[in-house]
Symmetry: C2
Subunit: 550 residues, 2 copies
């Protein structure tokens, strides 16, 4: 194929070379949506409201303050903060001036927080009132943080603190001008940093650029993506310390949506009150947070007045929750899938025109999938030999992705994270002919038997459908003939009985014959991670010799 | 300000450097919307239907055929064609392989077509059956075109022709493989070329790049832009030879919309039949084409079953047409504004949340504006001194724009088309506090009186509101004291009378005192361009000395 070098100079395109910059998002909001509100429930307990014009003014004051404080382009600026307006100002001030917003997850263990802040060489740390004790505990272990800034006004500053160089946010910015010209950065300049913690090894950083962030903003907000516009009132429950709240703090100002921040109050009653008071139309978060909201609404016999749509990601939405949201409360549930390495959005599960003509149950079967890739993200599934598998909804393999907002290597690592130019997600999935992807397993959990793969998740879900089973884990255990064979570990419900033979019989007719687990072990309880996920590494260690010993 | 050079190497972003390429649009369509239909009314008269999977297959055959025919990267490939599936295949094959799709407007005079094709150095010309006589007439003047390809099958080839090297499209591609790997081009490589003809001078080319096209695709299709998704059935009336049909041939495959091409049959009856038969939900075009459709629907007492929304641009939608579409037929009219130099979309007039609470008349007053800029386009208005004017809906000045899909210089010109980094649109406009822009004049038509500006269009509209006036033109004429003063030229309706004094009195109270025209001249008729616009240059020449002579 002829290449671009063959193009004669007179053929250079005529178009402007405008860099894609995060500052352009806030500039656009000021010009077109300057009076649109940003409403925040504060750690102080009250409700704060102002506009995008105010955000821009204070972000510029903050940029001047940071510059005066010696923060240079490329410096890492850390936050430990809830979703709120001051956190939003930090997002735009820091990235806008050319420095890097590093949002840290306060739910991590203090040791992990220290590791991350030291690895990132954070120079300054902004934090919410809630996290003062945490920051005081961690501070002695932080090697690079020279300044601490409490996101509060003077009246909320602690009388005493062990922190050496603690500033009050409002005082920090007050003396500074709101005149600040956002620099014309290179669009490939880094803008924000987020660490992802796997089940093994140290957390790894993903360093987003201005380009990747702006492309994710417009890509993720396609009409069949988040689809937000100037009618939308958006309450992100997903935290701003978790992959930039799935990009919502960028999407809302770009498209003129009213933004409602819940602060630290994520209980059902507080959320419901804010949904109603601010006329929220759309929200986004992980399934667990919706449990509390649904409990509150159900037990108080309430209804939503304006809430129309919720995007659920992070983990699969339990089918019962999906049905309750839709059938009882008229709130459409949109499944989405992504990861820190994808900025995060990869797929959104919106039905297509032809699918909307299917039966309710057929539609439901699609809605539990993770969805189809948004334009800008390519997906494929590959087998153990690396060859691409069919998109037939049946074949399942390692899910690989690529695109302009996909990670190529981790922060400070020299080695590429890619395989032949694609990012291996660590998920195992199917993709159907309509492009809908469904996660069937994690790559490390899939059971490899005689060269074929068995989904541990599907075997677990089937076991948990048995009335006597409270929880089940299925792992692959080494086998002399088949490499690995499935083993089921079961915790029974109180006052129930079940035999191995009964459970295995329960599987009959529901799975291919060669998927049938080789054994069932009944246990008192199963090990979990801090975030409640099954700790399968420990189970695999424990039962390593189960079949070999037999 | 610290600059990006200060960023240490360990701070380079972690994200993939995937180029933004037009081929990725079709690839995405095949993966996620392979079975979505593309329906075309052909020049042959019948209806053709196939899918995006088929588009991709035939586009790859065409790419192989072009390559075998010696078309290299950067070569200009011309079309003279209606909206149809073969034209779509050319779009993707030519840009995808690294060559440049040059769509020529067949409505131009043959001399202009020859000028444009020679200036672009087009090597090959694809054309529809309709245009065979035109192409035969122009061919002797074309210096670079070596091959002519008729977009038809063997049965429609002419028995005799004066064209030296005429091929049949279907035969041209038939022998070639559908295996073709789209090259990994530089995203700044040129992709398509479109000429814009001003009222003076030769037409000028705008050379779009892959990057500008992909960014326009996602930017223009924001939820408050075109807002198209997999529910949409789109019939672009705006031609593919007119700024790439406003980007619709790129947007539809990227977002899974069914695409319906009207071919050459743009009369009301043919359009209505296609709207109903294919369940069209959205269309786009200039006001004149809707006159025919509305006439047909009105006189046959018809209704639209699925048509929901029409985007109107090119020139302002007459208020009566807007009201008829919305009030009688329930079709929402969305005003949009753009130009060839903007790929073309700059603004879309969708009301914001707060505006939807206004009275119907207040909403109407907003809907007649050109709209607010889509994210990705910056706009400002400047006065004669180049200083930015207030966005208050009153101040009006030269409209300047910038953004990633805005022209920086014309094709083959070395000089920048920009003023301080902004593209001067040649329009005079107001921008209100909500960011809504309204064109008040063309820059060359605005009347400059004593350092202040007077809108010729507003004075014309007022004159035409007088019951005796059939048509009016207002021009600025040189004046010894005020530089320029307004002169009204009026064509009266048959069997009416009107004096200058009566018309000037009609203006009283409707305009600022200093806007009052200095004189009125009654004429038999006014001069127009080929496309029906007032030819004010001729009027200005003719009346150059009108006030000086007095």
């Amino acid at each position: 194929m002829t290449t671009i070098e063959n193009v004669s100079p007179t053929n250079a395109g005529s178009m402007m070379q405008n860099p894609l910059l995060i500052s352009s998002i806030l500039d656009h909001a000021v010009r077109c949506h300057g009076d649109v509100e940003v409403v925040s429930r504060r750690c102080e307990g009250d409700i704060h409201r102002y506009t995008y014009a105010d955000v821009a003014q204070r972000a510029k004051q903050l940029a001047n303050a940071l510059q005066a404080h010696g923060i240079a382009a490329g410096a890492r600026v850390a936050t430990l903060a809830w979703n709120g307006y001051r956190h939003l100002e930090i997002y735009y001030a820091v990235s806008g001036m050319g420095a890097i917003t590093h949002t840290i997850n306060p739910r991590l263990f203090p040791e992990q927080i220290a590791y991350i802040a030291n690895h990132a060489e954070d120079e300054i740390l902004f934090f919410d009132l809630t996290f003062l004790p945490l920051v005081e505990a961690v501070a002695p272990k932080l090697h690079n943080v020279k300044t601490y800034i409490l996101l509060a006004d003077k009246t909320h500053m602690p009388a005493t603190t062990s922190l050496a160089n603690l500033h009050c946010y409002e005082y920090f910015i007050a003396a500074h001008s709101a005149n600040f010209a956002w620099p014309a950065l290179d669009e490939d300049a880094p803008a924000s940093l987020c660490y992802t913690s796997g089940t093994t090894g140290n957390p790894k950083g993903v360093l987003y650029t201005h380009r990747s962030t702006v492309l994710h903003t417009v890509g993720a907000n396609a009409p069949d993506g988040f689809g937000l516009n100037s009618d939308s009132v958006v309450l992100p429950v997903v935290p701003m310390f978790h992959v930039n709240a799935w990009g919502i703090p960028y999407i809302c100002p770009a498209y003129g949506c009213k933004l409602v921040f819940p602060g630290p109050a994520l209980d059902g009653a507080s959320l419901y009150q804010l949904f109603e008071q601010e006329a929220v139309t759309m929200s986004a978060g992980v399934p667990t947070v919706w449990l509390g909201l649904l409990n509150h609404v159900r037990s108080n016999n309430l209804r939503f007045s304006t809430f129309k749509e919720t995007v659920i990601g992070g983990s699969a939405c339990p089918p019962a929750m999906l049905r309750e949201f839709e059938d009882v409360y008229g709130v459409t549930v949109i499944h989405a899938w992504g990861m820190t390495e994808l900025s995060p959005l990869g797929t959104v599960c919106r039905l297509k025109r032809a699918q909307k003509l299917l039966s309710a149950e057929a539609q439901f079967a699609i809605k539990v999938k993770q969805g189809r890739s948004i334009f800008g993200v390519d997906m494929k599934i590959v087998g153990s030999d690396g060859a691409a598998l069919a998109h037939d909804g049946k074949a399942f393999g390692d899910l690989h992705v690529r695109g302009s907002w996909v990670c190529a290597r981790y922060y400070k690592e020299t080695e590429s994270a890619l395989i032949n130019g694609w990012f291996p997600t660590g998920d195992v999935a199917t993709i159907d002919a309509d492009g809908f992807m469904q996660i069937t397993d994690r790559s490390k959990d899939v059971i490899k038997s005689g060269g074929e793969w068995i989904s541990s998740i599907e075997l677990e879900n089937l076991a948990m459908a048995h009335p006597a089973v409270m929880e089940a884990a299925v792992i692959g255990v080494a086998h002399s003939k088949w490499d690995e064979r499935p083993l089921v570990l079961v915790v029974l419900k109180p006052n129930t009985t079940l035999t191995s033979a009964e459970l295995l019989q329960f599987y009959e007719g529901k799975i291919a014959k060669w998927w049938m687990p080789d054994d069932v072990v009944f246990v008192e309880k199963l090990p979990h991670t801090a975030t409640g996920k099954l700790l399968k590494t420990q189970l695999r260690d424990e039962y390593r010799a189960h079949f070999l010993a037999k």
